[in-house]
Symmetry: C2
Subunit: 138 residues, 2 copies
Amino acid sequence: MPDSPVPLDRQLWDLVYAHDAAWDRAARTAGLSAAQACLLDALTDGGRSMGELAELLLCDASNVTQLVARLEAGGLVARRADADDRRVKRVTITPAGRRVRRAVRRAFDFADERLGRLTEAERLRLSGLLGKLLAPPS
Amino acid sequence: MPDSPVPLDRQLWDLVYAHDAAWDRAARTAGLSAAQACLLDALTDGGRSMGELAELLLCDASNVTQLVARLEAGGLVARRADADDRRVKRVTITPAGRRVRRAVRRAFDFADERLGRLTEAERLRLSGLLGKLLAPPS
DNA sequence: TATTGTTATACTCTATAACTATA
DNA sequence: TATAGTTATAGAGTATAACAATA
């Protein structure tokens, strides 16, 4: 007899958990929390303001202050006042921060290891289906 | 010109976030944290021991003690010593807990609202693809 | 006055270590 | 002795409200 099929929403839960857990593990192997790794991952070459980071990370600005403070204490990011608008602080990644970020991204093998199992055609199909799931509610 | 395609792993991140955020919102509308809602969601009619809950929720037993304490303070669960092995505590859901749990599940509209957009054929395809992604690493 | 960011504070989640009660 | 659970404690993530500096 066939195995009872796993309901689709249960599969989605499992996917969410697997993806999340892979990121958490990757962050921890580099000595970061998942949230700190997200912040580091969100930095661009020009740096980002605290407000931009709050928006990207979908959290309060006061939270960003704390996350940045911890990363700064570890020497992974630097904070300096913007030249044009001195209210704005720009957060930039340090050379040490780049090394750690590379390590996190390399350790986050979900995309490589799991997505690598799909053929190109399957990827396209998955992409189309995810697009429908992610479309904003009508 | 076509929109530049969204990378598949970015789509996955978005899905993870959307799914997670939907659960978080559902829990909060019922006055619970996401973790508390997960615990409530994991309870069965016969109740579960603290240890079982720790295993299901993938966290330490001391954490379960705190989560249960908060839910118990709100009258949503009850804790009683097991008759056979008095070291074991069985956590059961109260009538009020059932009402709250129903509210959370109803508010968690992800499955209904997002998955409802797919045709049966698309669901089957998605299920197959998720199965490949979720298969344990070879 | 409005905006950017910080500080003070509080709550929750989470884990570790030491402890109690029971087996 | 071993197991189930609790307590004490600590660190991190998160938010709200009050505040400082700058525009």
